[in-house]
Structure formats: structure tokens, C-alpha cells
Symmetry: D3
Subunit: 241 residues, 6 copies
């Protein structure tokens, strides 16, 4: 069965990163993956959280939120419910782990970089877009630390990007849009380096359990997808490491 | 003394409204006033707040928030402090009052329109931009109700737009950017209709008290400014009423 | 048409300030404006908020709240909703700005004065009464600092008082009681010094927009009202400055 | 050793109840016990909490709070800490139980009376004053229901009043002021009916444990105290039951 | 009338304390009183609350909570309501006072012991079980401080235990199970030392007021009950003091 | 290198499930996996969340929390921070998805089963233990619905159990205890059915990225582990489906 937007099963949506999207953040991009649009802003702060204070090491963390009308029906703001959305809590922890995986905390020094990922428009894959765009925002902020003479070199050990894959109409497909995602039988997210190694993986059987064979096919699809995303990232960052 | 961006005292910053900025909201614009950028999304909901339930009349309300890095230093999100920022509370009440002033609640019928104003980049005048852009988002949402056959005509009785004016270096100036705003002696905001009448006004002596004469000069400046903003709105909405 | 309590259009309600109303606060008054009654307590604290720490300068801030049954129907307490009422947030910011406008922060020195305004009974004009009474509480607390030998002179540069004015039955009237306020077409608040200058002004077209001419008439009414309030304040404070 | 205000050990402070203290509440008093002053406002609401809904029975509950500057040093408001003070939670549960003990819920019918006890000035014994004054506010609200023809007779089965007693300088004393309370070895509160029966009692060994004999002496003191308080209540309510 | 579990009126339920119930806490017990089961964990922390900082004295505090399904119907967690249960607030204050009454804060030194009482299964008397078990957890934590060479001797001046008593079917009974508690006319809790002195007492007339004579009978019952509980505690702690 | 407790790399810790651990819940177990101990209580409620109301279908959800002293240092309770721990939010979402994957919502009918997982003692693998034990609690609650005549058959389509696997000292190991977990290079969790299919998987490169080959070895280990867990579950549940 054909995908709603007629993509091949292993075809990604058009991805675009606009660097320096806002003017105040140390690093800022607008990433679009199809109709999904996320602003990723990186802030450098000289104060660090308690658990790294005095260690000489840095920290990278992330926050994730959707505008109320990023989705088809309006979501009340977290503050009006006085609760951080459970899904947002889960996603921002994932983004933080992904970006820390490629950061050399010794080289960063005792400072913190916070990546704010605010989803302006959602059409599936917002957590993956946040990681892929967040990496570039992080790189831009690090670049600024180098340009300002604070650091000698960019304290990143590699690239990181993320893509979804899933089983839909019993076929493995790459980079699910919302309509596909909401009917997928298996739904998975992959965070990978530019070398094709895995940083974090998740997979959920939404409609039925899945087999090892099915999952390894999704891993292969994801590898192709993230390789493409990393090439796009390098159009802005150049070669890293 | 010359203004930082060399504008004349009665000169507005370049204002631009991009309609249909996001795809899910019933009405959506991105408004830019100089470097200030606000996304205004209008949502139509069929359920209404308790105080109008059963009256057959509608309601318009607004929410205002800044992205953490809309400003020069990062602001923690409301949810991480568990408190709605006092300034945001004040501003969203102002936006709501302004938009209700031009809405015919009988004609709207028992439904609610929520205007979400999310500041992406701040450089002074975010509350005014939210009102000016929020009006167009509201109009677009009303237009959709008409196009969808829900309403016969757009239930708005006029246009509303807002601009700041202030006394800076002892001279009255129009449409203050952040740098001007932070050094102004008197700071005022004016919400006006396309007929040059006032819907809401505020004025604060930041550095010293001010006189009736000074304030009436600001009122005149504001009238010129909002007339221009209303003309820009009409490029999207056409003639109203 | 006659006002409900038969006042002339430019006539204020009876205003009375009871100094030293409670025994623990450094400055305390009960202010009555007609049936509106507010306790204003001033607390001197030696610790200051972060933004003035180390500057040698002081700070004045205010908190505003209503008892649950200050009004005709009971309002749930903020704590039972876990949210500061938006209206309270707006009003306490206004009171703080008004009182800071007449305080010499250098002369106050690195300490903070907090003005708690708790409305015991509401009948319109609670924000204005809070400012007018809050000023006297502030003065009493400053007087105590002088009497205790902490300061040489009272660090206030003038008086501040506030009154409402509005358009009701198409006539401009001064000092609106609740019943008038709830039917006013235009509703405005004016914070003024004893010299008749403006510190802060607000104005809202509740029923329809208003013109510059209408507003300037309200400004004139307010000037007369606040002059009277300042005379009453001086019965307690004597001449200031 | 003499008490700070030279009272005899079994002597109460001067107690005074001002009825109809505020104008909006169905029942309202200001109670003063020495320097302790509490506003008790009773609100009648036709909606009831879930656990009595549909039973035809009523409910009585209480809320207790102190103004920030009711005490010698300022207490931050609950809302600024987002937590109901633990002490307030404990006290308002006590007040509610005390007042429910003399209310005939069948006779009240399916409606709720909320007693708001707001401490304006604290000098020991605020929970007891809240109960003693709260009873009169409750009675006034019930009286109004009778006067309005809603109820046939006042749905109260008796009076309730409360007083503290304690051991101070190894002597049992009645009705402790703050300075006594803060140095008492044993501190107890007694809620009693006009017949000298106990509705609720509490006792704490602050400095050392205490014996049955000591406690029974305090019970006797309290009986004398509450009898006097009940006589004062009857000056307003007349004979009850 | 016979008690539901056929106990004599002055008969306690079977009480059992399992020491070292969890492996991480400095002191840990599982206490069972009939079907009521509470885990009491004592944590030693070197940091102290502000009011004892720098005094060289220590502090003991308690927290109390029920698992959602400790009771017959499920209670929502405090965090999902964002409010500490009022009953829990009241109980944890009681437990803290009880345990502080037998602690020598000078001898403890500037450190804090926190007793977490988590009710796993509730069948009446959870606050009393928390105190009786909490005492042993506190003792175990103090014992560890001695064994680790931090303190010379256990800084406790005596034992403390608690039991309920009440009037049920017009007869005084000891140690009420939930079914008895929910139908008791008078309900009281007694915190006592091993010497039979009272540390804290509470009593409530649930169904009707009560007399001094009735209460003193409950005090006598409670003395017998706590003496037995103290003997059980000593099976673990040995002689104290 | 040998594992701290000398297990073989593919050896599980001793797992034990005590059914009917608490008396009030419809389903209740205490599960121990080595030193990790979790109480899983299942509650059947007849009311359902809004998104299934009126559909005739049921819902299964989970809540996860740790006692403050389940861990080596004490964690403050969520309620004292007014925030649900981000890690808990993530874990309880995982548990809910896992249990829903084996529930036939049509067969369950319009009712909700809530699984409360409260960790009493933590030594690694608490989320996996919660799923494995939560399944049995869910089964017991369903069994009760059948025994009570509410349902004809148990509405579960299979078993679900979870285990961790990871790379530690460059070797793949099964079922990590806390000490292993905190030094693992790769850390993964697997939720599987009794048929060896995957319901949900997660994997994180803590120390370095990992390869597809490494991950598939962990998948194989997990299959062995969950097969053993499912056998243990069947000792209580018998054959399912």
C-alpha cells in the first residue's frame, strides 16, 4: 500500500535546517522535517547543576515543549495544569542523553549548555527532529565559545542525529509522518552517530509484539536515514572532530 | 539625540504579518515588528468557560508566553517554577480585553476563541505586537467559521491594534525597541481601533512622573502609529465591518 | 441620572485611614474608602532580592490579596487553586511600581520594604485604596527607621495616591463604587503625586472605545480626587520632603 | 511567678466579639482575645462536597490562614510557597470538626457552610479564638437562613467554644498569650460545649512529659474558661437549642 | 457487645516489629499492629534545617504517607493532586513532636534524623503504629551512630510509644481497628513514655461530646497499652537510658 | 572479570513473587529480584479516563514511585518538590504501555485497572521488576473479576515480563544489579511476551555508542531471561490464554 505522501518505504521527508534562526541564543536553528518544525535554541550558562559543581566538567541538558497549537487540537499549557506533561518529560530526558553522548565534558569545562526544543508545528517525529536540530544548535553554541576564545576547539566527539522507523501495513517504513505514526503497528526511534553506531534506541509494539528480525530491519533503515541527516548537518557544521 | 536605529521620533519599525504561519490552527500569523517576532494562533473551541455557558454568547481569551531564549538571557520556563510569570499574567489579560472589545459575542455564538501569543524573539513591544497580530489571527479564525458555513458573517465590529510610545531623552517617541524601552522615562501602551478611538491605555512614569500635556502628546503619536498598523492588517483582512 | 449613593459626579467617597492598625508590622494602616476596606502592613526586611543585592540600594515591593469573603460571593483561596489569581498578580505589580516611584532607593539603603495589602471588604476601588493606604504604611515604616536611628531622614521623595474615574451613563464620574464600576462604559485608574503629576495611568473601554477628549476629562477629575487623598494622608504624615 | 500581664492563673484575657464585621458574608464576626484578632466569615453555599451529595445532609468546613504580618516576623504567603502551611492544615481540620460537632446536618439540609478564619493579629490562642468566633459566625449564617425562610429553626444542637491551658513555671494557667505559650512546659487546647463537655482535646508536653493529674487540672481550668466564653457568645446569640 | 475480632475491651492487637527491614536506611523497621503495617525508615543527614543551623543542636522530623492502595478504596497520590493530604500533614507533625520529646538534641549534635513512615496496609491506628515503630527506627539509627564512633552514647532520654483508645458501643476500648474506629463515639490517641507519662494526647467526640470521667478512663487504658508496646520495643533495643 | 555477586553473564538474580501481599487491593504482589523489592497493587475502578468513556472499552494504567529511602541516599518525596520526578514519569509510562499490550480492552469492558508500583528497596532493575510483578497483580485483579462473575474470562492475551541486559567490562550481561548498572557501557531494557516476542525495547549507550551486533546479542540474552520470568509468573497464574 502506498504511503500517504507517496514516499518509498525507505525515503525520508525533506529535511531543512535554518541556522541562526533567533538572534539572542548562542546557537539557534529552525529544523523542518516535512511539516514538523522545531526551534532549537542553545544557551551557554556559566553556572552548572549541583552534581558537576567543582568537578571542572560541564553539562548538557535539554527542555522540550510544544506550542499549544502545534497539534491538530489545542493542548493546554503545562503551567495551566501545573504539571510537566509526562510525554515531554520523557522526551527531554532522551534529547539530553543523546547530546551528552557526543559531548566531551572535560573539554567543555565547568559550564552548562541548555538546548530548548520548542515545537512550532507537529507532524510526527518531533523528538527525532529535536535531536537532529539540537545537535546543530549545540555545535553553533560551541563554535561561538571557540570564536570568542573561551575554548580552543569544539568539545564534541562526533555527530548525533535521530530518525523514526516503524512497521505500517506490515511493511517497514522510514521517518513516519503523524498519520503513519498513529496507525503503525511497531514504532521505533533511533539516535545514531555519523559512524552508524547507536546512541539510544527505543521500540514499541503498538498493535502487536514484534520479532528480532523485524527490529533489525528497522535498525538498518534507520542507519540509512541518519547517515543522510548527518550529511545535512555537515552542510552547516562542516567536518567535525 | 538620534534613536539607536536612526528612526525619526514618530517613525514605526517595519511591521510584517505572515498569515497561515502554522497549519493546524484555525487562524495563524507570524507578526514581526522590527526584531520582535510573535506567533499568534487562534483556536476555535465549542466549549465555553462557565460564566458564559448557556447564555448563547461567545468568549475570546488569550494566553501569552515567551520562549525561554526569546530574550538576551534565558528565562526559566513557567512550569519549572510552577508559577505563571506575573508579567505574562498581566499581558495576557490585556490582550484578551483588547480582542473582546471588537468582538460581537452574540454573533460569535456560544463558542470560544483562544489566541495563543508565543514570543519567539523579543526586542520591545511584544504585548503590542501580540494584540496587532492576534487581531488578524482572530479574524482568520472567524473567516474560517464563515467559510465553513458556521457563521453568516464575521462577528467583529472593527479592528484593533496596539503600539507603544514613550519619553526618551526628554522627547516623545513612537514604537520603542528594547534598548529605548529600558531607558525611557515614560513608557506607555495604546490599544486603538481603526477609527482612532482608544480601547485600552496604560502609562508608567519609570524615571519621573509625567504631566497631562506629555501624555496627550503620546496619545497623538499612538494614533498615527495604530492607523498605520490597521492599514497593514487590512492588506490581509480587507475592509472589516 | 443620579449616582446610586447620590454623590455628585466629582465627589469622592468618605476616606479614612486608621494608623497603627496592627501591632507587629513596622507600618500598618486600615484604609476605608466608602465600604472598601484594606489592611496595609509594611514590613522592613534587611535581606533584599537578588537584583539589588550588593548595590547599596533598597527595594519596595507589594503583595495584594482579598479575603475569600471580601466580595459578594466567596472566592476560593489562591492556595486551594495553587495559582496566584491573575488579577491579583496585575494589581500587586501596579502597587509596587506606584510606591517605588516615590522612594529614594539610595537613601533607603540595602533593605527591602514589603507592603501587604489585604482586602477585608470590597466595594470597588481596592487597587486605588491599596496604593493610597500603602503609601501611609510605607511612610510609617520609614518613620520608624528614622526614629530607631537607622536612617537620618525619611527616604521618600513625595506622596502618591490613587483614584478611579470612569464614564457611567455617559457622564464622567469620580471614585466608582462596585455597582457603578460594573456598569461603567469606561473605567480608569490614576496614580498621582501630591503635585498633580501622573505616576501610572490605566484606562479601559469596557462598553465601547473612548476618545482623547473623554480621557482628558477623566484625568482632570482624577487630579481633583488625588489632591484630596493626599491632604488626608498628610493628616497622618505631616508635610513630606 | 507573676504572669507577664499580671493575670491570675485562672484568669482569661478580655474577649470581645463584634458581630456583622464585614458586609458580604452571611455570618461575620471579629473576635478579639487579648491582642489576638481573628475575622470569622461564614459563607452558605448550595453546592456540597462529593461525600454528602445526594444524601440530603449538609456539611460544615473551615479554612484558617494568617495575614503575612499577623506575627512578629513576616510569614510568606502560602501561595508564594505553593504549599498550604502544615500548621494551618492541622488547625483548619480542628475548627471544622469542632463546628460540625454542634451542627445537625439533617436539619441544615444539603448545603454547605464554610467558615473562613483569617488571623489579623496573633498573640497566642488563634485556633481557640477561631473556634469561639467561628461558632458565632456559623450561628449568624444559620440565623439568616431562618430569617430568609429557608430553614424553620437554627440547625445547631449547642454551643462550642475553645480555650488553651498549660503548665508554665510549673503552674497550671489558663488562656496563654504568645509569650507564655512559647515558654510553656505543657500546652493544651480544649474545645467544649456550653454544658462543660469535651468535643476535642489536645495536649503536648513541650518541655517534659506530663501526668494524668496535671492534665485533669488543665481540664478543670478549661471548663471554667469555656463556660465564660459561652456566656459571651450568648450575648449575641441568645439562648440556643 | 463483642468486638469484631472478639478481643477484650482492654486487649491490644498483636504487635510485631521486624528490625532492619530495608537495607539502605540507617534505621529501618516494619511494624505490624494487627493488619496495620507501616515501614519506618530513619535517615541520618549531616545538614540541618535553618532554625537549628549553627546551634550545635540536632533535629528529628518525620514524614507520613500511605501507599495509594493501603486502604479499602484507592487514594490518589499527593503528587497527582499537587497537595499534601491535610490528614498526612497533621499526622507527620504529631510523629515528629513525639520523637523529638525523647531526643537529647545537644547529644545528637548538629545533624538531622528523618523518619519516613510509609503505610503499606491500613486497618486503624496508623499514626500510633508510626510512632511506636518510628521510635525503634530512630533508636537503630542512633545505635549506628554509636557503632560508627560518631556518638559516644545513644542520644535518647527514654522510650515513646502510642496507642488509640475510644468509646465504642458506650464502652471504653483499647487499640481500635478500622471497623471500630469508624463507628467509635469518642476517639483518642495517646503518646506516652515507658514511665507512663504523657507526651501528647488527642481526643475527639465523633458522635457526641464526652466527659472528664470518660476521658480519664481512656487515659488509664492507654497507659496499660503503651506499657506493653514499650516492652516489645525493648526486645529490640534493650534497656534505654 | 567476575560479576560482583559472582553470577555467570547470562544468569538472572533470584526472583520471587509473593501473591496477595496486601489485603485491600484487587490484585497485589511483592516481587523481589535480588535485593530489588517492589509492591505491585492492582485496583479496579469502574470509572474510566475521558478518552475511552462511552466506547465500551477498558483501560490499564500504572503509577511508579520509590519510597524516599529505597535508595542509598534519601530522595525527597515528589510532593515536597511539587513535581513528579522525570524518571518516574518515564517509567510509569513504560509500565502502562507494557501491560496494555497484553490486555484485551474490549473484553475488559469499560473499567480501568490501575497498577501502583511502589519500590521499597532498589538495587537495579526496578522498572523491569515493576512490569514482571505488575503483570501478576493485573492477572490477580482480572481473576477476581472472573471469580466475582463480572467477566467470563480473563481479558489478557498473553504474559509480559521485563529484564535488563547490558555491556559491562565489554561483556554482555543479563539482569544488572545497581553496581553493575552504574558502570555499564550499554544499558538496555526488554519487555517481552511469553512467546519471546518484543513488546518494548530501550537501549542507551552510556559510555559509548554500540553496534547492531552488540544489541542483537543483548536481545538474545533478554529472551532467555524473560522466558524464565514467565515460567515463574505461571507458578501463580497457571497457563494463560
Amino acid at each position: 500500500m502506498a504511503r500517504p505522501d507517496l514516499r518509498r518505504n525507505d525515503e525520508m521527508r525533506k529535511m531543512k535546517i535554518v541556522p541562526n534562526f533567533t538572534m539572542h541564543a548562542e546557537g539557534s536553528v529552525l529544523i523542518s522535517v516535512g511539516n514538523t518544525k522545531v526551534i532549537c535554541n542553545a544557551t551557554v550558562e556559566e553556572n552548572v547543576p549541583p552534581h558537576v559543581k567543582g568537578t571542572g566538567r560541564g553539562w548538557v541538558t535539554a527542555e522540550y515543549s510544544m506550542l499549544p497549537r502545534a497539534t491538530n487540537t489545542r493542548n493546554r499549557r503545562d503551567i495551566s495544569k501545573l504539571k510537566l506533561n509526562g510525554r515531554s518529560a520523557e522526551i527531554q530526558r532522551l534529547i539530553g542523553r543523546a547530546l551528552r553522548a557526543v559531548t566531551d565534558m572535560e573539554a567543555l569545562g565547568e559550564r552548562q549548555i541548555i538546548i530548548d526544543c520548542d515545537v512550532i508545528q507537529a507532524d510526527g517525529g518531533t523528538r527525532c527532529a529535536s535531536i537532529t536540530g539540537g545537535y546543530v544548535a549545540l555545535w553553533l553554541a560551541c563554535k561561538k565559545l571557540v570564536d570568542d576564545g573561551v575554548l580552543k576547539k569544539i568539545p564534541l566527539t562526533g555527530q548525533v542525529a535521530a530518525v523514526s522507523a516503524g512497521i505500517w501495513n506490515d511493511e517497514p517504513i522510514l521517518d513516519l509522518a503523524y498519520e503513519e505514526d498513529s496507525h503503525a503497528i511497531v514504532d521505533a526511534n533511533f539516535v545514531m552517530t555519523e559512524k552508524g553506531e547507536f546512541v539510544e534506541i527505543q521500540g514499541t509494539g503498538e498493535g502487536r509484539p514484534f520479532t528480532k528480525e523485524e527490529y533489525t530491519r528497522l535498525m538498518s533503515l534507520a542507519r540509512r536515514g541518519t547517515a543522510k541527516l548527518c550529511r545535512e548537518q555537515r552542510k552547516i557544521t562542516g567536518e567535525v572532530g
